[in-house]
């Protein structure tokens, strides 16, 4: 509900109105949840983004159940072990789908056309997911956790990170794993998906049009807002 009843775009001191107008301008509802997609989106490679998202959802769901009963539960009950298994296989699926998604996006050069931030948020998500998984592995409270903590600590210590990120401190690692790093991953994924919604899926390379484009640009001709051909090239 808006109480301002003023023409949009008119200067306002209200932070709320400014935030709302910027958000709606960047992502109007039909851009946030579109019901159409470009015709070139016609390959199975395009499903790996949403599969990665789904795997993340299963990870978080199974993680919530594990955290409901505390870190020791899964060692002593069959149902706890069941949810631990779901969580572990969801990790494998998450990285599996995410890496294939990364490969696909690289070979499509999906950063083109102002989409550099889409690529960068995706890459950072991958890089943050790795320590998120590491903190999970050292929170298992079994032999694997003991081994990984005592080995990986050397890499952390050598880089000075070990001084404030202690892999052998279960309480700290559990906190990072259950709260801090999932928040970071989810925050990055939200930013990544919103940027995809904003910029759209990257169009294909058009090698046969490149020469024309180069010539047009060289003469200081039409910019990106000029009408473009949508059918076969002339």
């Amino acid at each position: 509900m808006s109480t301002t009843a003023r023409p949009p775009g008119e200067p306002t001191k209200s932070w709320t109105v400014r935030v709302r107008e910027r958000a709606v301008e960047a992502l109007p509802p039909d851009k946030l949840l579109p019901d159409g997609q470009p015709t070139y989106v016609a390959s199975w490679i395009y499903v790996f983004g949403v599969l990665s998202l789904a795997a993340l959802a299963v990870l978080i769901g199974s993680g919530v159940i594990l955290s409901l009963k505390g870190p020791a539960w899964w060692h002593f009950t069959g149902i706890g072990h069941f949810f631990n298994s779901i969580h572990m296989w969801a990790v494998e699926l998450f990285f599996f789908f995410m890496v294939i998604h990364l490969w696909g996006k690289y070979w499509m050069a999906a950063w083109r056309g102002g989409r550099a931030r889409v690529w960068m948020t995706g890459a950072v998500t991958f890089l943050i997911a790795i320590p998120c998984a590491l903190t999970g592995y050292v929170s298992q409270q079994n032999f694997d956790a003991q081994w990984i903590a005592t080995q990986a600590k050397d890499a952390m210590n050598a880089a000075g990170i070990g001084a404030f990120f202690n892999l052998t401190n279960f309480g700290q690692m559990y906190s990072y794993h259950v709260l801090l790093l999932p928040l970071a991953v989810v925050g990055l994924v939200v930013a990544h998906v919103l940027l995809v919604r904003k910029h759209g899926v990257v169009p294909p390379f058009e090698p046969h049009q490149d020469a024309t484009l180069v010539a047009v640009a060289a003469t200081g001709g039409a910019g990106p807002d000029a009408p473009e051909t949508t059918g076969p090239p002339a």
Binding site: T39, W44, I100, H199, G200, T230
Partner: protein, 79 residues
């Protein structure tokens, strides 16, 4: 040993014991200085195979020419 199910969850977890026991030390694949567990090799091979399949297998339907439907938004979306 579970003599009788004390709750529904005992029934569930009893039935959920793994079909294949992977708790033995892994077999490894050695090539020059590379040493990988069989499970990891399977994962890596599957990744390449699935990627190849994803770009090779035809996507169903939608072989009609473009510009047949305009979206409700004015800017691109998808994926």
């Amino acid at each position: 040993m579970l003599l009788y199910p004390a709750s529904i969850w005992d029934l569930v977890s009893f039935g959920m014991a793994a079909i294949f026991n992977l708790n033995n030390p892994a077999h490894t694949v050695h090539w020059h200085f590379i040493s990988l567990s069989v499970a990891n090799v399977i994962v890596i091979v599957l990744m390449f195979a699935v990627f190849a399949a994803a770009i090779l297998i035809p996507f169903p339907g939608h072989r009609s020419t473009p510009a047949s439907v305009t979206p409700s938004s004015t800017s691109p979306g998808g994926d």
